[in-house]
């Protein structure tokens, strides 16, 4: 278990393996980028890369487009990236600085890649950012659901199932009643129901929770698929029409250049999600309820001894988490103006699970992880038309590989709440 970066306090002067590998690979990657992005044929002949920073729909202040000489910029960025590796090698860094250095490396490297990919063309950065935000919404909601469950000691692998049920119920009820709010409520409720179901099977029948989550996801896939084929598809107008909440422009904020329209000219669900992240963070770390939840997740016996009702805490958390996961499903249909389709969550529930773990079981961490995953998706979609020699499939793969590195302890160490996944049986 002695993992590289955490490395059990290496002697002074001795270099930990993780630092060595990390630093060297950063330098190697940086130099490779120098050769491939900076000195390659794509950026030769002094071509320029143009970045547009405004959405086409932006109404407020606009930032001017940025045009840079492709080769020179890519070279500088790659050298900066390699420099991060040198810094890492030069001296042991504190955890926080180390994280910043690693982060900066990725920022420089991705920018260098973008400059290279955009050579002699134009890329709309704002639309990538918008895709990032829209893609991150369900992931954050799913991950928050996971945070609530797992902090109280119940592993929730059924987020994918909750997404599907939420999406299906929202589209169905929304179309049937013509009321988006009805769809929203229905979607959230089925999510909560599924969370409770998982909690009951985990706590009362002591079923292994990861297995249980997978089976419940299958059940949800089957149920929604069956319902879609037999009912919704028969009369799409009546049962499954594409609906969406209207965009709400937030005054002043939406006029901020670049990020204004991306963040503050969206539909209400985006704002709800932003608020929920803050709420869950505050509730978990600054309220009595949050303290109890964490106690139950780390040491249920101790929590029980001081009079906390372990089982009830877990049921409540799974139900509330289920509401959020259901909301994530709601987003997939009536949040994005898409009608329901079989298996439309397409694994996003599992990616939310990855975001939860990548974000180390914290709401804010989950937000960053979800944004990262959303960005990777948005980036690969945006880069596709630029026709780079790098297949976009590999770009899409990156977040998954990053998660593997994260859990393998190569990018810091992640550890779940101590009692996560263990049913509490009073003795």
């Amino acid at each position: 278990m002695a993992t590289a970066t955490v490395g059990a306090a290496p002697g002074i002067g001795a270099m930990s393996k993780g630092r060595l590998y990390g630093g060297v690979s950063m330098i190697v990657l940086g130099l490779y980028g120098l050769w491939a992005f900076g000195l390659g044929s794509r950026t030769s002949d002094g071509v320029k890369s143009e970045f547009s920073l405004n959405l086409t729909t932006a109404t407020g202040l606009k930032a001017p487009d940025i045009t840079v000489p492709a080769a020179a910029t890519a070279i500088v960025l790659c050298l900066l990236a390699a420099a991060m590796g040198v810094i890492k090698l030069a001296r042991p860094l504190s955890k926080r600085v180390n994280g910043t250095v690693t982060g900066l490396f990725f920022v420089f490297y991705v920018l260098a890649f973008l400059v290279w990919a955009t050579a002699a063309q134009t890329l709309n950065v704002a639309s990538i950012l918008e895709a990032t935000v829209l893609g991150a919404v369900p992931l954050v909601l799913g991950a928050l659901a996971g945070v609530l469950g797992e902090r109280s000691g119940v592993i929730n692998v059924a987020i994918e199932g909750q997404f599907l049920l939420g999406a299906c119920a929202a589209s169905f009820c929304g179309s049937l009643t013509g009321s988006l709010v009805a769809g929203l409520i229905a979607g959230c409720l089925v999510g909560a129901l599924w969370g409770l179901l998982l909690a009951v099977f985990a706590q009362r029948y002591l079923v292994e929770q990861v297995v249980l989550g997978v089976v419940l996801t299958m059940l949800a896939t089957g149920l929604t698929g069956f319902f879609y084929e037999r009912v919704m598809r028969v009369d799409p107008e009546k049962y499954n029409s594409a609906l969406s909440f209207a965009k709400v422009q937030i005054p002043v904020l939406s006029k901020i250049p670049v990020i204004g329209p991306v963040l503050f000219d969206q539909n209400v669900l985006v704002y709800v999600t932003m608020i929920l992240i803050a709420v869950v963070h505050v509730a978990l770390f600054h309220t009595k309820w949050g303290l109890r939840t964490r106690a139950v997740g780390e040491h249920p016996t101790a929590a029980d001894t001081v009079g906390i009702n372990v089982i009830r805490t877990r049921y409540v958390n799974m139900a509330v988490g289920g509401l959020l996961a259901g909301l994530g499903g709601v987003w997939l249909t009536i949040g994005l103006n898409i009608s329901f389709n079989k298996n439309m969550a397409a694994g996003q529930g599992f990616i939310a699970l990855a975001a939860l773990i990548f974000g180390r079981w914290s709401p804010v961490g989950a937000l960053w992880a979800a944004l990262l995953f959303g960005f990777a998706g948005g980036l690969s979609n945006a880069v596709q038309p630029l026709q780079t020699p790098v297949p976009t499939a590999f770009l899409t793969m990156l977040p998954y590989l990053a998660t593997i590195f994260a859990v393998a302890g190569l990018v810091g160490h992640v550890k779940a709440p101590a009692a996560d996944g263990q049913p509490y049986v009073k003795s």
Partner: protein, 430 residues
């Protein structure tokens, strides 16, 4: 040596929750006891019945004309009841005819065994998959990366398949071995990461599933793999020599029977896994590590080696699924497609759970689920009931089997004792 480590499925024949009698009672008495106390097989049977019952409710609820009769239920309840009965019996009759035997389409052996041939054809990949997941379970690992391992196996098998063009039998064996290698390599990564860094196999396998999926999407587009004559994403077809030969086409009217040589490989795989788990040193170590890793470590076994080997073998078995998909039954072209996985990676989990992670149990579970799959297709075509109901029924069966107290409670059985030892909760840090 198998006394020291208790296998998970070993208690099937003993009444649960009742002290063993010194005198062995008669067969009749034992049977009654097993039923009353809800032995494992009774719970399984009841779970299947419960799942079919819920399936029936779904069929009724989703049928528009039946719903119509319920609107005047109180004035004429007979209508609603007979309409419901019709809908359910039509559906389940089609399920039976499509999977076991269709009396109206049996004029000779070839046509009579057609439904069961379909059942076995659907069951064969599930046998490999169930063995793979079950083996990992026994070693204390949850392999939900079947999808990725299957895809990698299919990729290598396809590549060998269209590269090697003969001789007939050898090319097929080579392609299958390629499939095993591809799956095993992908599985071994998981075991290696688990053993060396403690990375939880569930997360790693989920991520590797997506990695494999995107890799497949990329690969089908490359010149090496893509079929230049086709518009849709499809690889080149494998060579005639590397296809899995069909077993029953020599029968009169047997031309359409799809059952192929994969069945023979499956039989070998079942025997191999049974031998591995119950008779080999490695299998003993796997089970020891699965029941109690620290005890096994204290006893001088290498936990790392067991975990790596378990995932390697598990991945290899999944790789055969990929190979049998491409070389056999997945599509008429015998080519790689983006959806070559066809949900088998996840279906394998349910098979292993139902089969309680034992090789023999897995065979029965696979045949049951294969029958549901084959019958589900005829239910869709003949009774208009979407095949998704099969997924629902399968998931419900597994859910009930995983929670014996629930089933015993519903049927008021006396026994106690819950889930499977192999599936004990461990959490992410375990």
């Amino acid at each position: 040596m198998s006394e020291t480590v208790k296998g998970s499925g070993a208690t099937a024949s003993e009444p649960v929750g009742k002290p063993a009698d010194p005198e062995r009672p008669g067969l009749g008495k034992r049977l009654v006891d097993q039923v009353v106390y809800g032995a494992d097989w009774v719970v399984t049977l009841l779970a299947i019945l419960l799942a079919l019952f819920f399936g029936a409710i779904l069929i009724i609820l989703s049928d528009e004309s039946v719903r119509g009769t319920f609107s005047y239920f109180f004035s004429s309840p007979g209508d609603a009841i007979s309409a419901s009965w019709d809908a359910v019996s039509t559906g389940y009759t089609a399920l039976f005819k499509g999977s076991i035997w269709d009396p109206s389409h049996s004029w000779n052996v070839g046509s009579a065994i057609a439904p069961f041939s379909e059942t076995l054809t659907e069951a064969v990949p599930l046998i490999f998959g169930g063995l793979a997941v079950g083996l990992a379970f026994r070693a204390g690992l949850f392999n939900i990366g079947g999808q990725g391992q299957l895809i990698m196996g299919a990729i290598v098998a396809t590549w060998v398949g269209f590269t090697v063009t003969g001789p007939t039998f050898l090319a097929m064996i080579l392609a299958v071995i390629g499939g095993i290698a591809g799956g095993a390599a992908w599985g071994a990564i998981v075991g290696l990461l688990k053993a060396k860094t403690g990375a939880h196999e569930v997360i790693v396998t989920i991520m590797l599933n997506y990695t494999a999926l995107y890799f497949l999407a990329y690969l089908i587009g490359t010149d090496t793999f893509r079929d230049p004559d086709r518009q849709e994403p499809l690889s080149k077809s494998v060579s005639e020599a590397s296809k899995l030969p069909k077993l029953l086409t020599w029968l009169t009217d047997g031309g359409s029977l799809r059952l192929n040589f994969a069945l023979v490989i499956a039989a070998v795989a079942v025997a191999f896994v049974w031998w591995l788990l119950n008779r080999s040193t490695l299998g003993f170590e796997l089970r020891a590590v699965g029941s109690n890793a620290s005890a096994a470590r204290t006893a001088g076994m290498s936990v790392a080696k067991s975990q790596i080997m378990a995932m390697l073998i598990s991945g290899g078995l999944m790789g055969i699924v990929g190979a049998s998909q491409v070389l056999g039954t997945a599509n008429a072209n015998n080519a790689l497609t983006p959806d070559i996985d066809a949900g088998l990676g996840f279906a394998a989990i349910t098979v292993a759970l139902l089969g309680r992670a034992s090789p023999i149990g897995t065979v029965f579970a696979a045949i049951l689920f294969g029958a549901l799959q084959a019958g589900g297709r005829s239910m869709q075509s003949e009774a208009g009931i979407s095949i998704e109901i099969v997924t629902v029924i399968q998931a419900l069966i597994v859910l009930f089997v995983a929670a014996p107290p629930l089933v015993r409670g519903i049927f008021r059985l006396k026994g106690s004792g819950s889930g499977d030892a192999a599936l004990a909760s461990k959490g992410w840090n375990g």
